[in-house]
Amino acid sequence: MSEKPRKIEITDPVTITVDGREVTAQNGELLIDACERNDAYIPRFCYHPRMNPVGMCRMCLVEVDTGRGPALQPSCMIPVAAEMVVDTKNEQVSKAQDGILEFLLANHPLDCPVCDKGGECPLQDQTMAYGPGESRWVEEKRHYEKPIAISETVYLDRERCILCDRCTRFAKDVAGDPLIHFIDRGSNTEIATFPDEPFSSYFSGNTVQICPVGALTAKPYRFRARPWDLEEVESTCTGCSVGCRITVQSSRNQVLRFQGVDSDPVNWSWLCDKGRFGFEAINSEERLAEPLMLSSDGTLSPARWAEALNAAADAIRAADPTSVAVIGGAQLTNESQYAWAKFAKGIIGTDHVDAQLGDGLAAEVVLGLPGATIDQVCAPGSTVLYMGPDPKEELSVLYIRLKHAAQEDGVQIIELSPAASGLSPYASASLHYRPADLPKLVEALLAGELPDQGLPGIDAAEFTKASQALLAAEQNLHVVIGRANLAESADCVAVAASAVHQALPGATFLSGLRRANLRGALEAGLTPGMLPGRSSLAEHGQAWKELWGSVPSTAGMDTTQILQAAAASKIDVLILLGADPLADFADRSLARRGVAGARTVISLDRFLTASTRQADIVFPIAGFAECEGTHTNLEGRVTRLNQKVTPPGTARTDWMIAAELAALLGKDLGVERDAQELWDEFTAHSAVHAGVSSAALDHPDAADGLLLDLGPRPFVTPVAPHVAPQSSYSLRLIVNRTLYDQGTEIHHCDSSSGLAPAASVRLSPADATPLGAEDGTQVTVSSPQGSITAALVIDSGVPKGSAVLRHNLEGADPGLLIDSADVVCEIRVEVS
């Protein structure tokens, strides 16, 4: 099996005897791991190092003598104790293992030649290594309909299943989605879903990876390749900012599969389905393969690179530097981000550069607060103050880690969110505040008492529990911050985080911002007022000026301000680095006016998006698995991204386009051969990047990546936003995300594109009842900006006084309601 025993530090060594050799093991660790670590691999099917053992398959039986005579014991259930004598290979053990394999194969079909697992199948491999060679079974084998779909993506072949309890355990214990289980008994036992309830877990793909036979297969990979035809490189998933390690597997220059890699500090081998099956977008036929330019008839037409680059350079040259703006860049590699920061700020001379689309947090908050790693947040003894987005929807593998921490390691999670989330069931206290009340709530928690008049929707008993846990945490407090509500000013969470930082200086912070390499973008200076390496333009401009030749003189605008300026015809060139403000910027009206108002729009993208279609020049870019580089996850962990396939057509990597444009403007970006030159220049000049040089990343111990310096930087405490008194609009709007939406990436994944839920308006029963509405009633939501109509869902997880809409789902666009100038969005809901 590909799973390796977890790396452990031996703190309580004991000596045991394994096959006659004395070896050292950690007291209490599982015997199966201790033996494997000491070169005595024990075969197994049900045991998985990241799940609790069940001792089900019995393949790992070994003879153990703890002083009461040798007896066959399942090594996956036996904790190591001093002076244990273990025999993993003697006649009794071999006989038992042969017997188990014969039993497992009795009913297992010998369809290996047409089975996707053949070639990487633990049952096949262990049959070769341990089995008796021949079966004595002459009876009829079990028969079932094969295969059956247990979800939109996962298929189950019950004939191949050896009932190891891996998938079911994963679903229940790891993912928290107990949607598959055993039914029936004895040799008729089978895996099944509940009637009319598919295995629609965000994590279902993991069951396919951990299935020790070909019983579970996933639609995107079924019958696409044989394992021996696959080539692979290790890389980091860029589906979100968690940074799960994966292997990218390809055949004939086509990516065919991602598999989770057990990165101890990050993903423990788990992936979410959006990430796992996201490779389909790489192979989409709709990928842009050549540059496009707006032709005289008003359509985008193919162009030659020289034409497009010249046109872009001409537009930039003609514009005043302060009328050039760059939005996006969070999907780029660290190297491309640095190249674009250097190109925009050092060569063009504009500071109107923002990698965030109004849905993030100010860079000085993210980079200024003392940093926490996922491991620190999830360590036993930790208390977590969670003020981020629903992790199950936005940072799915972080949710798995947090759930594990709460359930297995006793970590206390205090969740502050506008509505119940996937994390709520595991939180020791869950407070749901009215949008914009977060600063007040945090202030009250730190003070240990609620204001006299209370806070809307905050239960006093739950508040006391949360406050006590928070104040008792001291050095073990870790705070996760992010945007739980896109319809609320980012300042709210920034003020709250800052208050915690001042009151409890030992607390450390993890920024739960969703965009893949957003942390990298901020570190590279793709944000107004900052330069690479967390340098501020005002204070450290000189150092970078010496390297780059020039830097902007004043701090620039963020995305909201850029779009406002563009709408007022003050932006001559708007460069979109893989950004789609028309779909992603929360205020739909401003996004439309802004993109339309920019004189020249240059887009670098992999697909034609709503925004790209409005562009004058479009450059096709190489995406994930198509270029080399590095990535920075939300913790500040730098890992290598590796190229596996070639990009479509003539698509190029983002940094190349910056370099070409710089050359056309008569400047040198300082790169001749490859992205590493950019990384070397960056890391040589950034103090926080000192430990993540190319050489350091290539060290064998750096397989899990290397952390940037996470120490705090001084930052200005943001000012609490002023919230106007409640208007006649009676509800406050919460806009959050679902894992599957109409995003560009997911839209181009055949298997996942249909999984986005229908748009809905979610109200608490208390607010729905007076409307006389029930589930499914069409309701109209109106704000001063506009109105939308969608079906009502009555959701007890939504507090009274708030309404939840989902971002970017088909049918109802909350962006039509939002005015980015407001701190909160007040709305009215009526039956249509």
Binding site: R58, L72, F103, L104, R136
Partner: protein, 483 residues
Amino acid sequence: MIGTVTPASKMAEGVPAVVSSRFGVPDGHTLAGYTSSGSYKGYEALRQVLEMSPAQVGSVVKDATVLGRGGAGFPAGVKWGFCPPGVWPRYIVVNGDESEPGTYKDRLLMERDPHQLIEGCLIAAYAIGAAQVFLYARGEMPHAHERLAAALNEAYAAGLIGKNILGTDFSVDIVLHWGAGAYIVGEETALIESLEGNRGMPRLKPPFFPAAKGLYMAPTIVNNVETLANLPWLFNHGVEQYRSVGTEASPGTRLIALSGHVNNPGIFEIPQGTTTFRDLFESEIYGNGIRTGHELKMFIPGGASAPWFFPEQIDLPLEGRLIGGQGSMLGSGAVVVMDETTDAVRAALRLVRFFARESCGKCTPCREGTTWEEKILQRILDGHGRPSDIDLLLDVADNISPGPYPVAADPGNDLEAIPFPPRQTTICPLGPSSVAPITSAIRRFRHEFEAKIVQRDLISVSSEPFTDLPEQSSLAHGAVGHV
């Protein structure tokens, strides 16, 4: 089906009816009946116990050596002492999921004298300081369930269960839980899983010894129905009287469910350790002789999972350790008698089929192996056996229960007994239990297997039914005759 119920008057001379004294009393199941009939006055023991300290109660049970009546025969008082000190809450779980073929004693205790069980539960709960008692009754016993529910209601109404029992500080609730019909839930860790709302599958011991990590991972004492039913009598009559019956190691009486080829099958309360199988089969107050005109071929001394005994073992007393040494077990006290009309192969199949059907599916050897055993036995009976099948059966069995399997002595062939218990490649003994009828039958009646097997190896390993091949089929049946 339940046979004769022995009224108290038909007890052996000088033997008190400890648990069965109300079996023949029409209203023995009511609170009024419980307090006015039988060998002691109901709920008197509870009153006495509440005046003692919990530790004193525990030591009475320990001194009396009340052996567990569920199968393993472990002393209840010692088991109670296994709760780690200072760990709360603790629970008592009553195992009323009796479902082994031939075993039906607990059913009568629950149907005919539910208050006796409830009083036993209360005594045990007081002794260990249980926060709650869970009474797990088998799903196929609706009558027992009705009677228990009615008795619990009566007892609650009378202030015997619940808050401040009989005006004391002692409070405990008893929850009646109805099983869903799985034999494996009689295994205590599977029962706990089932109570927690999970699929009934055993947990591995260690680390999940119920006394330390049981229900909801709290210390839990799992006791058999009959074990607890002994307690009211014990506290009414005292340790000395309790120990005056039976032997030093196995004092008291126990209920035996006698079935099969005897003239008078039924439930009998016998003195432990002193009654022999011969007494049980032949005595007028018990079995009243092997079916008239027939002779004993073999018998199962302790339920379907016990290796078989034969006429040579008939003078052994029903005593746990002794029977264990002779290669079988007394188990749950189910004795099944088979006379010479019984086909050993068919009998083995019937027993193996039970285990195959009831395997929970957790451990590979049991899940796959018991079904394999069943299929081979069925094939032999169908006339499609191969000479290699006997060794195959024994080896499949060996892969479920490795090494020499417990079996009775066969003096005629100079074979000695192999003592109980068997070894296992599984978590619980269900799979290894399926081996008992196979090894017992093959060791003693190999010729019966051989007679049913065609005397040539079928080269074909076709999985098609052999009946499609008329030539082979007639050959097979010709050799074996009707089975």
